[in-house]
Amino acid sequence: MESSGRAAGGPSRRQVLGRGALIGAATVGAGLAPQAGAARAATAPPVREETLAAEPVEISLRVNGRERTLSVEPRTTLLDALRERLGLTGTKKGCDQGACGACTVLVDGRRVNSCLTLAVMQRDAEITTIEGLARGDELHPVQRAFLECDAFQCGYCTSGQIMSAVALIEEGHAGSPEEVREWMSGNICRCGAYPNIVAAVRQAAGGGAR
């Protein structure tokens, strides 16, 4: 159930942290372990708060074919930048830990957990979110297949499932139901729509519903 970006091989949040230790400390402290931060004071790691306050920077991102200028802090994840700064709330936060796939977007065509990458890292990339799939009123074939196969209930994981499915078909991993199951396993659906998701991916890939 790890990241849906297993095919990605792109830079991870951790690698970036290695390059920018100061920002890294802030991100780890802030993003991953709020609870641990409140732990017994004696055992809590020392925090160098002086180094943490990173100034917001102006960046531009190419999202869904449009150049968008926004101000983010270096520690802002791509997910939060999309949702909180650009108002693209179709991409969802399910765990903020890279473990559920709800935040999946395409970065240069590869599926990436947007909670695991920082916005500042994606300045040169082409980002596609769920809002960028349909052409006007015409749904993308994967969106249509999800509708037709009832491949969701609550819909909260659906943006991530659809983005994953779009990339997976492109990757050539929709050859059989078994293959789809395996390659869609980075996207959790707590409503349990999996059999219908498999059917939808197969249908969109032109492999028949089953």
Binding site: E2, V47, T89, K92, V198
Partner: protein, 734 residues
């Protein structure tokens, strides 16, 4: 043509596949400028007192607007238990004193201009505790288990001791089920704006009216001052059904800052924000004659409850007397106070937990007697409800057995454990019975019709994702007599007519009944207007003779004499009517209303690794009439998937020294993923039920009940090894 019973696509589906559906954390869109973010700091110990909170660093951090602790939090009033589901009274008096009762309890809340700043500042809050030794698990406190005659009185039918003494065979086994968490994909989110006149709350909740009443009581407001909105929910499974702290602290933050405040609990916090399915130990004794007919059923359960709250959550044995006709039945339950959050319902808190042991014990009895497990259940079919002694309102259980078994190929089963193989894998087939009480809640609906012929149906209910939007639309369209495309559904707002909670498998029955009444009332009203309207071709007709089809009203026997709703409405004002559903009273009932089901499952077990895979599953359900077979099928599939998790992967682990949850994330708490889930087939055995409005019994919970025990039984059949401790992780098979 009637649209009820047809598999139409979800009416809100397009919004969901395009990312346009707005869930709580996606709001507001318009005036986001005013919005600020709150992050909770949660207790790192499970029991003790807060001795100091050093908030200097946090307050000095960038963007921080407010920091709330028990020193400066608004004072709250206790909410009585009858107003809310789950923890009530003093348990949700959060941030009121220095006591810590469970790890993850909120001890401070930071409000800042951005999410990053709030999260960072929260990490700078230093809390020190005078720690006390917690009760970490049920087993640790089991010597102090107590009864609760008020909430979980023992059930006694006949004479169990006698029934056991008379039995030719007695099965006496103890099973344990772990604490589990709901984990809807949408974590608990709340946005509150608090002005002098009104408190507006956007919240992920299964019961908007409960949040309104709870917040009003605890903050000393009138319910009319609080508006609660929850349009799209990212799942709930019971975890958003109960009264819980995130909404309370968000409201505090909004009141103190005067800003619109959003708090989204982290996935980790979800392990201590919305309660859990309680850890339980269940001893079952079954007595039977040689032919398998039961002479006694005894079930003694012990369940965890929180350390600071006496009201036990659920009597998990409450439905144990129902599935089998047996003259002697006794169930008891005791409780253990554990330093955990107060348990809450999780997709069938009674049957989904308490029948795991009974259905496994039935399988053990079948093996002991050499009787086929399905045949054993048939022989013990209950002609009436053994618990109440009342006749069933309707009962399709035998047909569920038959159709499920046929579809699955059950007769092919070799009864011998370890006898079936697929290459190196051991193959096992198992089955179980499912039952679930069918009920509904008082619900009001309003249907409005405009001059364009379009109509809207409004109910202050919620759609967890199960299809409430869609079935409301279908039922109201049919009742009014308009095409389904002309009907729109609105829900999730306390400004709408009051609906009940979306839990207990009550929603479909409640919402459908109210929508039908409102639609029919409006149809009758417009017909009355038309027959009295000289400008209408229907003028002078008897209202009883006016029929409606696809929005066209005409006189019986003369289709040409009529006109469309839109034409009538153009000459008249906008029309609306309400419908109020009142559930049949439980007291003095003359029938027992239940839904029924049967699960059949196949597992393949790797004998070297102990890994279990479910490879196919058939579930037959009798839940009365199905309003939408498409959404219903998805709901059943989803229930089976959750049952797979319950049986094989899901357990909330607690460390015994500190009583902290050790697997607080999807990385450690394993819910099923796509590759874990096989083809699942749902069969609906439909029944008309004259005692239930619309014959709708509800599906949410019966969808998952029965799945876990069927898997347990299949694993025994595959391996010859009986695991009585959920979940069946590989270590238990090696």
């Amino acid at each position: 043509m009637s649209v009820v019973g047809r598999p139409i696509a979800r009416v809100e589906g397009r919004l969901k596949v395009t990312g346009a559906a707005r869930y709580t954390a996606d709001l507001p869109q318009d005036d986001g400028k005013d919005l600020v973010h709150a992050v909770a700091v949660c207790a790192a110990v499970a029991k003790g007192r807060i001795t100091s909170i050093d908030a200097r660093q946090a307050r000095a951090a960038g963007g921080v607007l407010e920091l709330i602790t028990h020193h400066n939090a608004p004072r709250l009033r206790p909410v009585p238990a009858q107003e809310v589901l789950g923890p009530a009274h003093e348990t949700l008096l959060v941030l009121q004193d220095d006591r810590v009762h469970y790890s993850g309890q909120p001890v401070a809340v930071v409000v800042a201009d951005t999410l990053e700043n709030a999260t960072h500042a929260a990490s700078l809050v230093r809390v020190e505790y005078a720690e006390e030794r917690p009760v970490a698990t049920l087993f640790e406190g089991i010597d102090d288990a107590f009864d609760s005659p008020r909430y979980a009185p023992p059930t006694t039918i006949g004479d169990v001791d006698r029934g056991l003494a008379d039995a030719a065979v007695v099965i006496d086994r103890t099973y344990t089920t772990p604490a589990q968490h709901h984990h809807p994909m949408e974590t608990m989110a709340t946005t509150v704006r608090w002005t002098a006149d009104e408190v507006t709350v956007h919240v992920s909740t299964q019961t908007i009216s409960m949040v309104r009443d709870g917040l009003a009581t605890t903050f000393g407001l009138r319910p009319e001052q609080v508006r609660v909105v929850s349009e799209f929910l990212g799942g709930g499974f019971g975890g958003k059904a109960a009264w819980c702290w995130p909404s309370v602290v968000t409201a505090m933050a909004a009141r103190l800052t005067g800003r619109q405040v959003r708090l989204v609990t982290t996935r980790r916090q979800m392990f201590a924000a919305t309660g859990q399915r309680p850890h339980s130990v269940q001893r079952v004794r079954l007595g039977a004659r040689r032919d398998g007919v039961l002479t006694a059923i005894a079930q003694d359960c012990v369940g965890e409850t929180s350390a600071f709250y006496d009201t036990p959550p659920f009597y998990i044995g409450a439905a144990t007397p129902v599935p089998y006709g047996c003259p002697n039945i006794r169930t008891t339950q005791r409780f253990v106070k554990v330093n955990c959050q107060t348990p809450v319902p999780m997709r069938s808190p009674v049957e989904g937990v308490g029948l795991v042991s009974v259905e496994s014990a039935m399988d053990e009895l079948a093996a002991e007697l050499g009787v086929d497990p399905l045949e054993l259940r048939r022989r013990n079919y209950a002609e009436r409800d053994p618990n109440s002694g009342l006749p069933w309102s309707s009962n399709g259980l035998l047909e569920c057995y038959e159709r499920g078994a046929r579809r699955f190929g059950w007769p092919e089963r070799n009864p011998e454990p370890r006898s079936m193989r697929d290459g190196r894998y051991l193959v096992g087939w198992g089955m179980a019975t499912a039952i679930r009480h069918a009920g509904s809640d008082p619900t009001s609906a309003l249907v409005r019709l405009g001059a364009d012929g379009r109509a809207v149906v409004q109910i202050g209910s919620q759609d967890l994702g199960t299809g409430t939007f869609t079935i409301m639309t279908q039922v109201a369209a049919d009742a009014l007599g308009v095409p389904v495309e002309m009907m729109r559904a609105e829900l999730g707002d306390t400004d709408l007519p009051t609906g009940g909670g979306s839990f207990g498998s009550h929603t479909a029955a409640s919402v459908a009944a109210a929508a039908r009444l409102a639609g029919e009332a409006l149809r009758a009203k417009v017909i009355r207007i038309a027959v009295a309207d000289e400008g209408s071709p229907l003028s002078g007709a008897s209202p009883d003779d006016v029929l409606v089809d696809d929005g066209y009203l005409f006189v019986r026997g003369d289709r040409s004499r009529g006109e469309r709703y839109a034409q009538i409405l153009r000459r008249n004002r906008l029309q609306s009517a309400t419908g109020d559903h009142t559930p049949p009273p439980r007291e003095g009932a003359t029938v027992a209303r239940w839904a029924f089901g049967a699960d059949f499952t196949e597992v393949k077990v790797d004998p070297e690794l102990g890994t279990v895979r479910v490879t196919r599953h058939v579930k037959a359900i009798e839940a009365g009439r199905i309003i939408n077979p498409r959404t219903a099928r998805s709901q059943v599939i989803g229930g089976v998937v959750m049952g797979i998790g319950q049986a094989l992967t899901e357990a909330t682990e607690v460390d015994r020294r500190d009583a902290r949850i050790t697997n607080a994330g999807f990385w450690g708490y394993h819910v099923p993923v796509n590759a874990d889930v096989p083809d699942i087939e749902a069969i609906f055995v439909e029944r008309d039920d004259p005692h239930i409005p619309g014959s709708v019994k509800g599906l949410g919970e019966i969808a998952t009940i029965g799945t876990a025990p069927a898997i347990l039984n299949a694993v025994f059949h595959a391996t010859g090894k009986r695991v009585r401790d959920l979940p069946i992780t590989p270590d238990k098979l090696l």
